[in-house]
Protein backbone atom coordinates (compact mmCIF):
# COMPACT_ATOMS: atom_id res chain seq x y z
CA UNK A 1 0.00 0.00 0.00
CA UNK A 2 2.96 2.29 0.53
CA UNK A 3 3.55 2.42 -3.18
CA UNK A 4 -0.08 3.19 -3.88
CA UNK A 5 -0.12 6.02 -1.36
CA UNK A 6 3.05 7.49 -2.81
CA UNK A 7 1.57 7.27 -6.26
CA UNK A 8 -1.59 8.96 -5.17
CA UNK A 9 0.27 11.80 -3.57
CA UNK A 10 1.58 12.91 -6.91
CA UNK A 11 -1.28 11.89 -9.13
CA UNK A 12 -4.71 13.20 -9.67
CA UNK A 13 -7.44 10.81 -10.67
CA UNK A 14 -9.76 12.18 -13.28
CA UNK A 15 -13.22 13.01 -12.07
CA UNK A 16 -12.15 13.19 -8.45
CA UNK A 17 -10.34 16.52 -8.41
CA UNK A 18 -13.29 18.80 -7.85
CA UNK A 19 -14.84 16.53 -5.28
CA UNK A 20 -11.76 16.72 -3.07
CA UNK A 21 -12.61 14.08 -0.52
CA UNK A 22 -13.99 11.95 -3.31
CA UNK A 23 -10.54 11.42 -4.77
CA UNK A 24 -9.65 8.28 -2.90
CA UNK A 25 -13.13 6.88 -3.25
CA UNK A 26 -13.23 7.35 -6.99
CA UNK A 27 -9.83 5.74 -7.34
CA UNK A 28 -10.88 2.82 -5.21
CA UNK A 29 -14.13 2.39 -7.05
CA UNK A 30 -12.24 2.21 -10.31
CA UNK A 31 -9.72 -0.24 -8.95
CA UNK A 32 -12.31 -2.59 -7.52
CA UNK A 33 -14.21 -2.49 -10.78
CA UNK A 34 -11.06 -3.37 -12.64
CA UNK A 35 -10.31 -6.28 -10.36
CA UNK A 36 -13.77 -7.60 -9.77
CA UNK A 37 -16.22 -6.45 -12.36
CA UNK A 38 -14.27 -5.98 -15.56
CA UNK A 39 -15.62 -8.12 -18.37
CA UNK A 40 -13.29 -10.86 -19.36
CA UNK A 41 -11.64 -10.70 -22.71
CA UNK A 42 -11.26 -14.16 -24.07
CA UNK A 43 -8.21 -15.05 -26.06
CA UNK A 44 -8.83 -14.86 -29.75
CA UNK A 45 -10.56 -17.78 -31.36
CA UNK A 46 -10.44 -19.11 -34.86
CA UNK A 47 -12.86 -16.44 -36.11
CA UNK A 48 -10.18 -14.53 -37.92
CA UNK A 49 -11.06 -11.37 -36.04
CA UNK A 50 -8.38 -9.28 -34.42
CA UNK A 51 -8.62 -7.86 -30.94
CA UNK A 52 -10.49 -9.67 -28.24
CA UNK A 53 -14.05 -10.75 -27.66
CA UNK A 54 -15.76 -8.87 -24.82
CA UNK A 55 -17.88 -11.19 -22.68
CA UNK A 56 -20.42 -10.17 -21.72
CA UNK A 57 -20.81 -7.49 -24.41
CA UNK A 58 -20.82 -3.88 -23.19
CA UNK A 59 -23.39 -1.19 -23.88
CA UNK A 60 -22.40 2.24 -25.14
CA UNK A 61 -21.81 4.46 -22.08
CA UNK A 62 -24.83 6.57 -21.25
CA UNK A 63 -23.17 9.99 -21.30
CA UNK A 64 -23.41 13.17 -23.35
CA UNK A 65 -20.23 14.90 -24.46
CA UNK A 66 -19.66 18.14 -26.35
CA UNK A 67 -18.06 17.52 -29.72
CA UNK A 68 -15.14 19.55 -31.03
CA UNK A 69 -17.54 21.73 -33.02
CA UNK A 70 -19.40 22.69 -29.85
CA UNK A 71 -22.45 20.48 -30.43
CA UNK A 72 -23.83 18.08 -27.81
CA UNK A 73 -22.99 14.48 -28.60
CA UNK A 74 -24.88 11.70 -26.86
CA UNK A 75 -22.90 8.51 -27.27
CA UNK A 76 -26.07 6.43 -27.37
CA UNK A 77 -28.28 8.63 -29.54
CA UNK A 78 -25.73 10.12 -31.89
CA UNK A 79 -23.90 6.93 -32.72
CA UNK A 80 -27.01 4.80 -33.19
CA UNK A 81 -26.92 3.07 -36.56
CA UNK A 82 -23.23 3.77 -37.14
CA UNK A 83 -20.32 1.41 -36.47
CA UNK A 84 -18.18 3.27 -33.98
CA UNK A 85 -14.67 3.05 -32.52
CA UNK A 86 -14.28 4.71 -29.11
CA UNK A 87 -10.90 5.60 -27.60
CA UNK A 88 -9.77 7.74 -24.68
CA UNK A 89 -6.57 9.69 -25.24
CA UNK A 90 -5.05 13.16 -25.12
CA UNK A 91 -3.68 15.49 -27.74
CA UNK A 92 -0.27 15.95 -26.08
CA UNK A 93 0.26 12.20 -26.31
CA UNK A 94 3.08 11.67 -28.83
CA UNK A 95 3.09 7.92 -28.89
CA UNK A 96 0.16 5.57 -28.24
CA UNK A 97 -2.60 7.89 -29.50
CA UNK A 98 -1.19 8.89 -32.91
CA UNK A 99 -0.02 5.32 -33.56
CA UNK A 100 -3.59 4.08 -33.19
CA UNK A 101 -5.26 7.01 -34.93
CA UNK A 102 -2.92 7.05 -37.94
CA UNK A 103 -3.20 3.30 -38.37
CA UNK A 104 -6.98 3.21 -38.24
CA UNK A 105 -7.14 6.26 -40.53
CA UNK A 106 -5.08 4.49 -43.19
CA UNK A 107 -7.22 1.36 -42.75
CA UNK A 108 -10.51 3.21 -43.24
CA UNK A 109 -9.08 5.05 -46.24
CA UNK A 110 -8.07 1.70 -47.72
CA UNK A 111 -11.64 0.41 -47.45
CA UNK A 112 -12.75 3.33 -49.67
CA UNK A 113 -16.47 2.54 -50.02
CA UNK A 114 -19.01 0.08 -48.69
CA UNK A 115 -19.40 -1.37 -45.21
CA UNK A 116 -16.81 -0.16 -42.75
CA UNK A 117 -15.89 2.93 -44.74
CA UNK A 118 -18.40 4.90 -42.68
CA UNK A 119 -16.95 3.82 -39.32
CA UNK A 120 -17.11 6.77 -36.92
CA UNK A 121 -13.89 7.21 -34.97
CA UNK A 122 -14.51 8.96 -31.64
CA UNK A 123 -11.63 10.40 -29.61
CA UNK A 124 -12.35 11.44 -26.02
CA UNK A 125 -9.77 14.02 -24.95
CA UNK A 126 -9.24 13.19 -21.27
CA UNK A 127 -6.83 16.08 -20.60
CA UNK A 128 -9.51 18.76 -20.54
CA UNK A 129 -7.08 21.58 -19.73
CA UNK A 130 -5.23 21.06 -23.00
CA UNK A 131 -7.69 19.06 -25.11
CA UNK A 132 -9.78 22.06 -26.11
CA UNK A 133 -12.20 21.79 -29.03
CA UNK A 134 -9.82 23.88 -31.18
CA UNK A 135 -6.86 21.68 -30.27
CA UNK A 136 -8.80 18.53 -31.10
CA UNK A 137 -9.90 20.02 -34.43
CA UNK A 138 -6.26 20.59 -35.31
CA UNK A 139 -5.08 17.26 -33.96
CA UNK A 140 -7.71 15.06 -35.56
CA UNK A 141 -7.90 17.20 -38.69
CA UNK A 142 -4.24 16.39 -39.34
CA UNK A 143 -5.00 12.66 -39.11
CA UNK A 144 -8.43 12.26 -40.70
CA UNK A 145 -11.01 15.07 -40.91
CA UNK A 146 -13.90 12.65 -40.28
CA UNK A 147 -12.64 11.72 -36.81
CA UNK A 148 -14.62 13.39 -34.06
CA UNK A 149 -13.14 14.76 -30.83
CA UNK A 150 -15.27 14.77 -27.70
CA UNK A 151 -14.92 16.67 -24.46
CA UNK A 152 -16.88 17.12 -21.25
CA UNK A 153 -16.38 17.94 -17.61
CA UNK A 154 -13.91 15.56 -16.00
CA UNK A 155 -16.64 13.85 -14.00
CA UNK A 156 -18.48 12.96 -17.23
CA UNK A 157 -15.33 11.60 -18.87
CA UNK A 158 -14.57 9.59 -15.74
CA UNK A 159 -18.13 8.25 -15.77
CA UNK A 160 -17.84 7.08 -19.38
CA UNK A 161 -14.45 5.55 -18.61
CA UNK A 162 -15.92 3.74 -15.61
CA UNK A 163 -18.89 2.42 -17.58
CA UNK A 164 -16.37 0.71 -19.86
CA UNK A 165 -14.63 -0.77 -16.80
CA UNK A 166 -11.35 0.89 -17.63
CA UNK A 167 -8.85 1.76 -14.90
CA UNK A 168 -9.07 5.38 -13.72
CA UNK A 169 -7.50 8.07 -15.87
CA UNK A 170 -4.57 9.76 -14.12
CA UNK A 171 -3.12 13.24 -14.57
CA UNK A 172 0.47 13.53 -13.31
CA UNK A 173 1.77 16.58 -11.47
CA UNK A 174 3.36 19.09 -13.87
CA UNK A 175 7.15 19.36 -14.09
CA UNK A 176 9.09 22.63 -13.95
CA UNK A 177 8.17 23.37 -17.57
CA UNK A 178 4.49 22.77 -16.89
CA UNK A 179 4.52 19.56 -18.90
CA UNK A 180 2.66 16.64 -17.42
CA UNK A 181 1.84 13.09 -18.33
CA UNK A 182 -1.50 11.38 -18.53
CA UNK A 183 -2.40 7.74 -17.95
CA UNK A 184 -5.34 6.57 -20.03
CA UNK A 185 -6.90 3.41 -21.36
CA UNK A 186 -5.18 2.00 -24.42
CA UNK A 187 -8.09 -0.13 -25.59
CA UNK A 188 -10.18 0.70 -28.63
CA UNK A 189 -13.81 -0.29 -28.11
CA UNK A 190 -15.55 -1.40 -31.31
CA UNK A 191 -19.30 -0.85 -31.25
CA UNK A 192 -21.51 -2.37 -33.88
CA UNK A 193 -24.36 -0.22 -35.24
CA UNK A 194 -26.66 -1.44 -32.46
CA UNK A 195 -24.49 0.34 -29.87
CA UNK A 196 -22.96 -2.79 -28.37
CA UNK A 197 -19.23 -3.43 -28.01
CA UNK A 198 -18.45 -7.06 -28.72
CA UNK A 199 -14.74 -6.61 -29.28
CA UNK A 200 -11.95 -4.37 -28.16
CA UNK A 201 -8.61 -3.92 -29.81
CA UNK A 202 -5.14 -3.03 -28.59
CA UNK A 203 -3.91 0.39 -29.74
CA UNK A 204 -1.22 -1.22 -31.91
CA UNK A 205 -3.58 -3.41 -33.93
CA UNK A 206 -2.21 -3.70 -37.43
CA UNK A 207 -3.67 -1.76 -40.32
CA UNK A 208 -4.48 -4.97 -42.20
CA UNK A 209 -6.42 -6.32 -39.22
CA UNK A 210 -8.52 -3.14 -39.06
CA UNK A 211 -9.13 -3.25 -42.80
CA UNK A 212 -10.31 -6.83 -42.46
CA UNK A 213 -12.48 -6.37 -39.37
CA UNK A 214 -14.16 -2.99 -39.87
CA UNK A 215 -16.33 -4.10 -42.84
CA UNK A 216 -17.48 -7.16 -40.92
CA UNK A 217 -18.18 -5.17 -37.75
CA UNK A 218 -20.20 -2.78 -39.91
CA UNK A 219 -22.31 -5.76 -40.98
CA UNK A 220 -22.90 -6.66 -37.33
CA UNK A 221 -20.46 -9.60 -37.32
CA UNK A 222 -18.03 -9.86 -34.48
CA UNK A 223 -16.99 -13.49 -34.16
Amino acid sequence: MTTAEQTWSRRRFLGAGAAGAGLALAGLAGCSLERGGAPAATADDASGFGGQLVTPPMAMPDVTFTDMHGEPFSLIDDSRGTPTLLFFGYTSCPDICPVYLSTVARAIESIRTGPGSDTQVLFVGVDVARDTPERMQTYLGRINPTFLGLTAEESVIADANRQLAQAPITIEAPDEDGEYLVGHGSKVFAFTADGVAHRFYPYDTRQQAWAQDLPRLAEGEYK
Binding site: P94, D95, R106, I143, A167, G185, P202
Partner: protein, 174 residues
Amino acid sequence: MTVRPRLLPVLLVAALALVAAAGCGTGGGSDATASDPSGSITVEGATIDWPPNPETALVRFAIDNASATEDHLVAVTSPVGDATIHRSDVDEAGTATMSPVDRVTIAPRSSVQFAPGGLHVMLTGITADLQVGDEVPITLTLEGAGEVSFEATVVEPGSVGDDTADPGGAHDHS
Protein backbone atom coordinates in the same frame (compact mmCIF):
# COMPACT_ATOMS: atom_id res chain seq x y z
CA MET B 1 5.60 30.65 -35.82
CA THR B 2 9.01 31.35 -37.27
CA VAL B 3 11.35 28.53 -38.07
CA ARG B 4 14.43 28.84 -35.92
CA PRO B 5 17.60 29.45 -37.92
CA ARG B 6 19.12 26.10 -37.09
CA LEU B 7 16.13 24.25 -38.48
CA LEU B 8 17.09 24.25 -42.13
CA PRO B 9 14.87 22.29 -44.47
CA VAL B 10 17.51 21.41 -47.02
CA LEU B 11 15.67 21.09 -50.30
CA LEU B 12 17.82 18.42 -51.81
CA VAL B 13 17.70 16.23 -48.74
CA ALA B 14 13.99 16.84 -48.41
CA ALA B 15 13.46 15.77 -52.00
CA LEU B 16 15.50 12.64 -51.46
CA ALA B 17 13.53 11.84 -48.35
CA LEU B 18 10.29 12.18 -50.27
CA VAL B 19 11.55 9.84 -52.96
CA ALA B 20 12.58 7.37 -50.29
CA ALA B 21 9.21 7.66 -48.60
CA ALA B 22 7.39 7.08 -51.86
CA GLY B 23 9.53 4.06 -52.56
CA CYS B 24 8.72 2.16 -49.39
CA GLY B 25 5.27 3.20 -48.31
CA THR B 26 5.53 5.85 -45.68
CA GLY B 27 8.47 7.15 -43.80
CA GLY B 28 11.61 5.53 -45.08
CA GLY B 29 13.77 7.55 -42.74
CA SER B 30 17.02 9.23 -43.35
CA ASP B 31 19.59 7.09 -45.06
CA ALA B 32 22.29 9.11 -43.39
CA THR B 33 24.04 7.70 -40.39
CA ALA B 34 25.81 9.67 -37.71
CA SER B 35 28.64 8.56 -35.47
CA ASP B 36 30.74 9.92 -32.67
CA PRO B 37 34.40 10.65 -33.52
CA SER B 38 35.56 7.21 -32.38
CA GLY B 39 32.93 5.50 -34.50
CA SER B 40 31.66 3.29 -31.71
CA ILE B 41 28.19 4.81 -31.54
CA THR B 42 26.07 5.03 -34.69
CA VAL B 43 22.56 6.42 -35.13
CA GLU B 44 20.45 5.18 -38.02
CA GLY B 45 17.01 5.70 -39.52
CA ALA B 46 16.15 8.89 -37.64
CA THR B 47 12.65 10.08 -38.45
CA ILE B 48 9.89 12.15 -36.90
CA ASP B 49 6.28 11.29 -37.76
CA TRP B 50 4.57 14.48 -38.89
CA PRO B 51 2.82 15.24 -35.61
CA PRO B 52 -0.94 15.65 -35.27
CA ASN B 53 -0.25 18.02 -32.39
CA PRO B 54 2.12 20.62 -33.91
CA GLU B 55 3.76 21.23 -30.51
CA THR B 56 4.67 17.64 -29.63
CA ALA B 57 6.56 15.09 -31.69
CA LEU B 58 8.35 11.80 -31.30
CA VAL B 59 11.75 10.90 -32.74
CA ARG B 60 12.41 7.36 -33.92
CA PHE B 61 15.91 6.02 -34.44
CA ALA B 62 18.22 3.13 -33.69
CA ILE B 63 21.41 3.65 -31.73
CA ASP B 64 24.15 1.08 -32.20
CA ASN B 65 27.15 0.49 -30.00
CA ALA B 66 29.92 -1.25 -31.96
CA SER B 67 32.44 -1.09 -29.14
CA ALA B 68 33.26 -3.71 -26.52
CA THR B 69 32.14 -1.54 -23.62
CA GLU B 70 28.67 -0.43 -22.65
CA ASP B 71 27.70 3.19 -22.97
CA HIS B 72 24.89 5.30 -21.58
CA LEU B 73 22.68 7.86 -23.25
CA VAL B 74 22.16 10.61 -20.70
CA ALA B 75 20.81 13.62 -22.59
CA VAL B 76 19.11 14.68 -25.81
CA THR B 77 18.80 18.19 -27.16
CA SER B 78 17.22 19.79 -30.20
CA PRO B 79 16.87 23.41 -31.27
CA VAL B 80 13.19 22.92 -32.14
CA GLY B 81 11.95 22.09 -28.66
CA ASP B 82 12.60 20.46 -25.32
CA ALA B 83 13.85 16.91 -25.83
CA THR B 84 13.26 14.24 -23.21
CA ILE B 85 13.48 10.47 -23.10
CA HIS B 86 10.40 8.52 -22.12
CA ARG B 87 9.23 4.96 -22.08
CA SER B 88 5.64 4.01 -22.90
CA ASP B 89 4.03 1.11 -21.14
CA VAL B 90 0.65 -0.57 -21.25
CA ASP B 91 -0.11 -2.39 -18.00
CA GLU B 92 -2.28 -5.47 -17.53
CA ALA B 93 -5.37 -3.34 -17.06
CA GLY B 94 -4.72 -1.77 -20.46
CA THR B 95 -3.72 1.63 -19.09
CA ALA B 96 -1.19 3.48 -21.21
CA THR B 97 1.41 5.50 -19.33
CA MET B 98 4.69 7.22 -20.05
CA SER B 99 7.59 7.53 -17.64
CA PRO B 100 10.67 9.73 -17.93
CA VAL B 101 13.95 7.88 -18.42
CA ASP B 102 17.19 9.46 -17.20
CA ARG B 103 19.71 7.03 -18.59
CA VAL B 104 19.61 4.43 -21.33
CA THR B 105 22.22 1.68 -21.37
CA ILE B 106 23.49 0.54 -24.74
CA ALA B 107 25.18 -2.80 -24.21
CA PRO B 108 28.40 -3.69 -26.07
CA ARG B 109 27.86 -4.71 -29.69
CA SER B 110 24.15 -4.19 -29.55
CA SER B 111 21.60 -1.62 -30.53
CA VAL B 112 18.60 0.02 -28.90
CA GLN B 113 15.49 1.02 -30.83
CA PHE B 114 13.70 4.26 -30.09
CA ALA B 115 10.20 3.77 -31.48
CA PRO B 116 6.52 4.08 -30.57
CA GLY B 117 5.26 1.85 -27.80
CA GLY B 118 8.60 1.74 -26.01
CA LEU B 119 11.59 3.99 -25.54
CA HIS B 120 11.27 7.26 -27.37
CA VAL B 121 12.60 10.76 -27.55
CA MET B 122 9.82 13.27 -27.18
CA LEU B 123 10.02 16.84 -28.39
CA THR B 124 7.71 19.28 -26.63
CA GLY B 125 7.14 23.01 -26.91
CA ILE B 126 7.79 22.98 -30.65
CA THR B 127 7.11 26.39 -32.17
CA ALA B 128 8.31 25.69 -35.72
CA ASP B 129 5.65 24.48 -38.15
CA LEU B 130 7.21 21.14 -39.02
CA GLN B 131 6.53 19.91 -42.54
CA VAL B 132 7.19 16.58 -44.19
CA GLY B 133 10.75 16.66 -45.49
CA ASP B 134 12.14 18.99 -42.85
CA GLU B 135 15.40 17.96 -41.23
CA VAL B 136 15.43 18.44 -37.47
CA PRO B 137 18.83 18.54 -35.73
CA ILE B 138 19.15 16.22 -32.75
CA THR B 139 22.17 15.82 -30.46
CA LEU B 140 22.63 12.86 -28.15
CA THR B 141 25.04 12.95 -25.24
CA LEU B 142 26.62 9.66 -24.23
CA GLU B 143 28.75 9.19 -21.14
CA GLY B 144 31.48 7.40 -23.05
CA ALA B 145 31.28 8.53 -26.65
CA GLY B 146 30.32 12.14 -26.02
CA GLU B 147 28.05 13.95 -28.42
CA VAL B 148 26.49 12.46 -31.54
CA SER B 149 24.57 14.86 -33.78
CA PHE B 150 22.26 13.95 -36.61
CA GLU B 151 19.17 15.15 -38.42
CA ALA B 152 15.81 13.44 -38.19
CA THR B 153 13.60 13.63 -41.27
CA VAL B 154 9.95 14.57 -40.81
CA VAL B 155 7.90 11.88 -42.61
CA GLU B 156 4.25 11.09 -43.21
CA PRO B 157 3.01 9.06 -40.25
CA GLY B 158 3.21 5.36 -40.98
CA SER B 159 0.83 2.81 -39.62
CA VAL B 160 1.22 -0.35 -37.60
CA GLY B 161 1.89 -3.23 -39.92
CA ASP B 162 3.51 -1.41 -42.79
CA ASP B 163 7.08 -2.23 -43.67
CA THR B 164 8.51 0.83 -41.97
CA ALA B 165 7.09 0.34 -38.50
CA ASP B 166 10.45 -0.87 -37.31
CA PRO B 167 12.84 2.06 -37.67
CA GLY B 168 15.99 1.05 -39.40
CA GLY B 169 14.65 -2.44 -39.81
CA ALA B 170 13.95 -2.02 -43.50
CA HIS B 171 17.33 -0.45 -44.18
CA ASP B 172 20.53 -2.37 -44.14
CA HIS B 173 23.52 -0.09 -43.85
CA SER B 174 26.10 -2.79 -43.49
